[in-house]
Every structure is written in C-alpha cells, then in structure tokens.
Amino acid sequence: MKIGLFIPCYVDALYPEVGVLTYRLLTSLGLEVEYPEKQTCCGQPMGNAGFQGMADKLVENYDELFRPYDYVVAPSASCAAYVRFFHQGIVKHECEAAKRTMDVVEFLHDVIGLENMKARGFKASFPHKVSLHNSCHGVRELGLSSPSEKSIPRFNKIRDLLSIVNDIEIVEPERPDECCGFGGMFSVEEPDVSARMGRDKIARHIATGAEYITGPDSSCLMHMSGIAAKDGEKRIKFIHVVEILAQGL
C-alpha cells in the first residue's frame, strides 16, 4: 500500500510539526509514505470565498500528482473533505486521487483499523484530559462522528482512535459539534460573529475541565488558539490529534 502524504498549505507553513508527526506515525505503522513535492493547497480558501473556478489548475495538479497512490492522507479533515467532495465539481470530471483522499483519523480508523494498529506496534501514552473538537467538515462531510442533528446510533472515530492511547482521559464539550466560527474567509468577513463563536466554543471546552482541546483540523485550532491568546486565556492548550497519537515517536 502506497500512501501519498498531503500536507495542506497552512499546515505546511504554520504547523509543519503536525506534518512531520503524521509522516512518522504512518511510517511507524510500517506504511510506505511519499510526499510529492509539487503539492500546494486543496483550494478551499478560494472556494469558500466564492472563487472555486480559480482553483481549477490546482485541482488538476493535485489529481495528477496523487493519482499513483493507493491512498492520499492529510492531517486536516476540512482539506480532505474539500478535495473529496468539491474537486470533481470544480473541473467537471472525475478525480481519481480525490476519491482516495482521506483525513488521517479516518484513514487510521477505517483503513488500518485499531486492532491492526496495535498489532503493528502502535503505542502511545498521554496522561492528560483532552476535550474533543469535532470540527464541522470532519463531522458533517467525512463522517468522523455522528452529527448531533441526526437520529442515528452515536459514534466518534476520533474518540475511538484516541482510546488506544494509554492514560488519556477523553471528554466532549456541551454542544459537541457546534461550529467554532473559523470558516476560512468567514473569520475575516464576519469577524465579530466568528470571534464570538470561537469564544463560546473555547468556554465550553474549558468547562469540561480538560487541559487540552484536540481535533483533526489545525485550522479550527489556529482560530481558537488565536482568540485564546488574544484574550489572555491560559486555562486550556491546543493539540492536534496526530500530536497525541505520535507521543513517544
């Protein structure tokens, strides 16, 4: 199984350590991982702003670059969702690589499997209380957890995955999948609504008594940590799910 690693632009520039740990985590499980260098962005920033047409070449580039791989794995639920569900509509043809693009949580949970991970020597310990940030596109596009709106059996793949980490305590905030207010360009076009959503979300995470907010999207974490820092809020820290899974690597 050959995996193409997709490190979205803002992870690349702002959170490269999340990319490095994703690589390390996947290779530690005995997987063959390559990073095609000519990659850039998923195109979502332009799409959400109303200019998805401007992402056409980037989409073609993505498809060509990642087509040789069995799976494309990205440490970002929102970017993976955009690739999988929007690329085809932008270039008006099937995109093979997009269909096989997954968020890392989804990939580990669905493709590798928890038992298999353990069999492959997965071991991590994180003796902390963490509050799950169920990000919108992870929940409602990728199906990482059951959307709270729906009357279906409850599940949460992030929780499942973190449950194989030793010593961790996992909680979820009240309103477990309400938006944190990032929304890409939304955060600068509607800064007041966006920030209020962020503050409310942070407060609900803090109310769980957790030390960390953890989620599969660095973008949500960037938004919330930016607000927390500006507000001088020190009661909570932010950590990507991969950073927990890769403890000890």
Binding site: Y10, Y35, N61, E178, V193, G226
Partner: protein
C-alpha cells in the same frame, strides 16, 4: 471587507449578555428538537420521505394545484390565483370591499409579510389585528418579525409591559387579567412585568377584536390536493378564533404549500412541530375545508416568484422548505447575530437562500452570514442542502457584480501561488518573514483578523523545506 450583515451583526454583538440570551433561547429549541428526534427510530426515514414527497410535488406542481382547486371548489371554497404581491393584494381588497370589511383579525403568515398585506390594508382604511401573541406585540411596536416561528423572542417582557401600557391595554384589560389569576391588585404584576399577566391582558384585548372583526385571515401550513382543504398549525388557537367569529375567511397560500394527500400530511405533521418548536405536535392543527354556514371561504394561491425559483436548476430545491425555522435555531451565526442583521425578512440559512432567489441585488449581503458548518442541512426536515446552496450562491456573486473586491484579490493571489508549485515553495521559504509583516500566504487581512486573534506564527522552516532537506523522518 464587510457586508450589511456583518456590520449589523457587529452592532448586535456589542451587548455580550443579550447575545448569550438570544443564543441560548434558540439553542434550547434545537435541544428540544433533538430529544424528540432521538426518540424516533424512523426520524431519518421521515426526513427522507418528506424530502421525496416535496420533490415530487413541486415537480408536478401544476397538476397538484389544479387538483387542489377542483376539490376546494367542490367543497364550496372560492379559489383565486395571484401571480405576484400586487395581484394578491388586489384580490384581498376586492373580497374585503365586497363584504364591507372594516376590521380583519389575522393568524400568523409569512406570506402576508412577504406581500406587505398589512400596510396595504391600512392604506385602504382597514384595521388589521395580528392575533398571534408575538406578532401582535411586534405590530403594536411597529417592528418586523426577527424569526419566522418565534417572531418576538428578542423582545423582553419589560418592553412588552411598557408597550401594553402605552397602548392602553393594561388600563383596559389589566383588572380582568389580574382577576383571572386570582389577584385583586395588578400593581405588583405590572411592576414585575409578569408574563402570565401580560398574556392574559393580551388575551382579553384580542377577544374584543375577534368579536368585532368582519373578516378572519389565515395562512396555511399545508394545502392538501386530494381533499381541497388547508391545514393551519398554531399553538395559541388564534387561527381558530380568527375564523370562528367572522363569517368571511381568507386563506393565503404559497403555491409550494400543496401536498398530495393525507398520507403525505401524516409525514409532515410528525416533522413540523418537532422541528419548529420541539413539540410532538402543535397545540392546534386545524383543517379548513368548507365555508361556515352563511359564510364565505376564499383561498388565494400565490406565486410571487415561486415558479421562477422552480426554474432555477441549482436552487429549485429551496422550494421544499415548509418554514419550520429549525435551520435558524441551529445556525450558530443566526443565534449570534439575530434576525434583523439580515436584509431579507426571512433570516437564517433559509432566508439567505430565499432572499437570493427573490432579489440578488438586495440580498447578496447575507451570503457572508455562514461559516459553512452545514448543521442546517442536517437539521432540515425536508433535507434542503442549505449550506451547500449558500456555497453555490457565493460562486456566482462575482458574475452578479457583487463579489467583495478584497476577497477577489486575495483569491487571485492564491490562484497564482497555489497553481504554481515553484512559486509556492519559494514563497514559503520567505514566509517566516511574514511574522513581522501582514501575511501574504493565508491572505489574512491584518485588521480584521487581529481584532480578535493574535497572528498565527509562521514556522522557521516549512514542512516542504524540511522534506527537501531530508529532515522529515
């Protein structure tokens, strides 16, 4: 980079506690809906069925409307067709003038709001009295609704008391209101703006109006083609009161309200109140089929742009909406910016979409009011993909001449950067420099982002660079 919505929201958001109350009020309705949703194993199948019935009906609209007309006429109702608001208002006036109507009592109807019925009636010297409590409060205050189901929820009971005092309602009905609660002195109740007391006063105030009116008007939640009847759902029984005293009943019905038959009604009946208010059913579900003895029953079927919506290949499914308000209650942006921040009289996710269908130039401002969280489309009882539709509207803003110039410039910048891997890599090398400069990579405008955030910190080496140097291992 700001829209009318974002500017109005900024103002509303200045009062922290008010926003908290507004948010919690509507979230509590969402929470009540969830409790009922989780109780029903067949919930998602019901939504699917409701969506399919609506899709079927609105794609066979002409047939069902004619069936409805035939059956309603056979029942003794008089059916009218209005292509737009002007025709609708003319028809209403003709009926009223023929019956020498001076006062109308009216049940809640967003369609009449859409057609500016009240101002038209007043212009013609007809006194119109809203009978839904929330709508009556707003009418007396001269305000529009801020939500389609709970229109006056943003008004405090103190404001209601002050208004009722100004209108003379407390003076006229206060004694009876207090006595109905077993209280002899109303002073304390008024000082506390007691909600039960205020409601009782409104009740007596409205009773006088029910007795005096020559015409009762209602909307319709559903029009059943197979029987030619309309169904009106209320919690206050005010539609029933409005149609029980006056002999003349005029029902205003949007053409998309028609459904095939009772089987379909059974599906919607189970969904409407559960979604709208978190009740298993509305307190009153009234079926109107015939005129009262000696009376007349007029049904006005109103298009007012709906058949044009149906012709829109990207957005026609918006017409499935049955106006339950659930998308507003779940929308994190609506809950924190409230109805008046939107330019269209229907706010929230469905209002953004209906506003665009109705008048793009006036309502494109609302397209910013969405973080694309997609909660709305998972809530919607008829599965309108509201968030996805808003995404689609955004894609067309540029061709309408309404794209934000800064967003366009930023997207163009990203286009150049992201479609050119070499340029992107070079840019990233210099990205750490941006820690002391406005960011060019993420296109984050310094002032809007920095109003509430610290700047994100560019890593000294990007992943790309680390990979190239063999440092990723």
């Amino acid at each position: 980079m700001s829209t009318k919505h974002s500017k109005a929201a900024e103002k509303f958001l200045k009062d922290y506690d008010k926003v908290t109350r507004h948010d919690q009020t509507f979230w509590s309705v969402r929470a009540k809906r969830d409790v009922l949703a989780y109780e029903l194993k067949e919930w998602e199948q019901l939504r699917e069925a409701a969506s399919n019935i609506k899709k079927h009906t609105i794609t066979h609209l002409a047939d069902y409307l004619e069936e409805f007309e035939r059956n309603a006429t056979a029942n003794g109702a008089i059916v009218h067709w209005a292509k737009d608001a002007d025709e609708y208002n003319d028809i209403v006036m003709q009926i009223m003038q023929a019956h020498d109507v001076h006062k109308v009592v009216k049940g809640k109807s967003m369609l009449t709001e859409e057609c500016h019925l009240n101002s038209n009636l007043i212009k013609h010297g007809i006194d119109v009295v809203e009978t839904d409590l929330g709508e009556r409060i707003l009418q007396l205050m001269g305000l529009p609704p801020s939500h389609i189901i709970m229109p006056a929820i943003h008004i405090t009971r103190e404001q209601v008391k002050d208004n009722f005092a100004q209108q003379g309602i407390l003076e006229k009905n206060g004694k009876m209101g207090a006595e109905s609660m077993g209280v002899s002195d109303k002073t304390q109740l008024e000082a506390e703006a007691d909600p039960t007391y205020l409601t009782r006063c409104a009740r007596y105030h409205l009773r006088d109006n029910f007795m005096e009116a020559e015409c009762g008007m209602t909307g319709a939640n559903f029009a059943i083609a197979s029987t030619g009847e309309i169904v009106v759902c209320t919690n206050e029984g005010n539609a029933d009161m409005s149609t029980s005293v006056p002999l003349l009943h005029i029902a205003s019905v949007g053409i998309e309200k028609v459904i095939p038959n009772y089987d379909a009604m059974g599906v919607f009946q189970r969904l409407l109140a559960r979604h709208g208010t978190g009740q298993a059913t509305t307190v009153y579900t009234s079926h109107f089929r015939k005129p009262r003895p000696e009376g007349e029953f007029h049904i006005i079927l109103v298009d007012n742009g709906r058949s044009n919506f149906l012709a829109d290949p990207e957005h026609w499914q918006t017409l499935k909406c049955m106006r339950c308000g659930a998308c507003m209650n779940t929308c994190p942006v609506y809950r924190r910016s409230m109805g008046y921040s939107y330019t269209y009289f229907i706010p929230g996710p469905i209002g953004i979409n209906l506003g665009m269908l109705k008048d793009k130039d006036a309502n494109y401002h609302n397209c910013s009011a969405c973080s694309l969280c997609l909660s709305c489309e998972n809530v919607c009882p008829v599965q309108v993909d509201l968030g996805t539709q808003i995404y689609k509207w955004r894609q067309n803003l540029d061709s309408m001449g309404h794209a934000d110039p800064m967003k366009k410039a930023m997207s163009q910048g990203m286009k150049i950067l992201f479609q050119n891997p070499k340029l992107y890599t070079t840019a990233l090398k210099f990205a750490p420099l941006a820690n002391s400069l406005p960011s060019f990579l993420t296109g984050i405008k310094l002032n809007a982002w920095c109003k509430y955030h610290t700047m994100p910190h560019f890593a000294s080496k990007s992943f790309h660079e680390m990979w190239k140097k063999g440092e990723v291992k």
